[in-house]
Amino acid sequence: DVKVTQSSRYLVKRTGEKVFLECVQDMDHENMFWYRQDPGLGLRLIYFSYDVKMKEKGDIPEGYSVSREKKERFSLILESASTNQTSMYLCASSPGVAGGRQETQYFGPGTRLLVL
């Protein structure tokens, strides 16, 4: 079974703090993704990576950065957390080449972040 794990299920941070969300997958997948999920807005892509050290912006990259130093690990960084970044953050991975037609994404359980 594919397993995608996220470092925390719940996180509370203060405005202005630097926040790291970690994601690890154990199936040697090429692609990894970070989404945020908000009520009424569904899943929105923040960033994704198709290879080590490679990244592409998604729909809402502002205020976020990412790091992929190893194939199995993809980190989302909030350089200076703000209250409007309070959300559920979901990591996913998928096998195969980037932009491939047939990609099944496997999701982690999510991290619920509250920024005070």
Partner: protein, 110 residues
């Protein structure tokens, strides 16, 4: 940005067939459409995927009309455990476009 829309919510009774439609633009002949199911406090999980007119697996069917501007997820004989949010994801080959549908909250009633 291409917009992928779904009905916000649907109610159904146990044992009924449920059809959830996803409307999208710019889907080519060989582009896949994937549907995911999400329970509270969990990440979405794969249900079904395809690019042909009809695809069926052990839990659902996927219908894509000739104009490819929509797709329909069909859940036969739903049960209470099918209560969840359902998302479609049209995949456009060769581009980095991962735009999920807006999600449909399905509530199955006894």
């Amino acid at each position: 940005l291409a917009k992928t829309t779904q009905p916000i919510s649907m109610d159904s009774y146990e044992g009924q067939e449920v059809n959830i439609t996803c409307s999208h633009n710019n889907i080519a002949t060989n582009d896949y459409i994937t549907w995911y199911q999400q329970f509270p406090s969990q990440g979405p999980r794969f249900i079904i995927q395809g690019y042909k007119t009809k695809v069926t697996n052990e839990v659902a069917s996927l219908f894509i009309p000739a104009d490819r501007k929509s797709s329909t997820l069909s859940l036969p004989r739903v049960s209470l455990s099918d209560t969840a949010v359902y998302y479609c994801l049209p995949l456009t080959s060769g581009t980095y476009k991962y735009i999920f549908g807006t999600g449909t909250r399905l509530k199955v009633l006894a």
